[in-house]
Amino acid sequence: MPDNNRGVFSLIIINKAGGLIYQREFQSGLRQLSTNDYLVLAGTFHGVHAITRSITPKIPISQPAPSPATSSPSTTAPAPSSYSYPNPGVPVSGLDYLETDKFRLTCFQTLTGTKFLLFTDPLTGNVDTIIQKIYELYADFVMKNPFYQIEMPVRCEAFDRHLGAWLRGRT
């Protein structure tokens, strides 16, 4: 994929607690936000994401049915609820993307609660594929690095290198 980085502006990774653990621009000369702005952005997005989950509409149903989305164990089945999420087969997500005329912010939250935020051109395609690949690189070069401490800022030279190289289309 030679043109992966066309339209990919930057990446942010947010830990489970809403802390900024990684931030990187992929285009030289991109105007940078201050570190503080990035921290605020991470925290704010984390909060809004949680809110969008909690305000997901619930529709009344006649029969209480266990919702797969909440993955409740059968032993501690929730108190019979007369509400269900629309389309109960699909897990409740939070905010998936924000879009303006100028850019698109796509959020991918892993099942462990880590968030990958990718800033792209609104016309950039295959954003999901790009984020999936970034997640794989993260699993390889961050999670398998014994010197990385979980939930802490990511400072892994091999991750930076492979991420940059892949986005430049060189593997």
Partner: protein, 188 residues
Amino acid sequence: MSSTKTTRIGEETRVDKVNAELVTLTYGTIVAQLCQDYDSNYQDVNKQLDKMGYNIGMRLIEDFLAKSGVGRCANFRETADMIAKVGFKIFLNVTPTVTNWTSDNTQFSLIFEDNPLADFVELPDDGRAQDELWFSNILCGVLRGSLEMVQMQIEAHFVSDVLRGDDTTEMRVSLVRYIEDEMPPEEE
């Protein structure tokens, strides 16, 4: 998710490989080092192996999710299937049998036909190791660490091991609770 579909994910997930003997011997040297560091106090060795596994599990789960692409399980039975047919398949190339469920579906056993970690292993003939050491105890920690990261608190321990002279190698896994912190509130 259907059981056959789970099997297919386990078989089709792309896995980078390395010589199996390097993995086996590396695990062996870790356990041997612990036995030395803890003066062959095997209870302490078991504990330390579980702790190391827990540390691994918290990291390994991301690799599992990123490479397999699976989503959240609907219930604990599905989780058990996922552990056996996808987790163990991609990380150890074995598929333990899931069996001995309790009626409330919160406890099951994993029976290992093969265990690459214990290949070519014989426990020390000191009259204690076969009664006290759980050689593959790191696997219990791995399950505990991985599942905790996806909001399941579990307890896992070995109940038998061919290295101890038992006829099977069996791990017992119990669901303690679902950790709901990350979940939206059930009710107003």
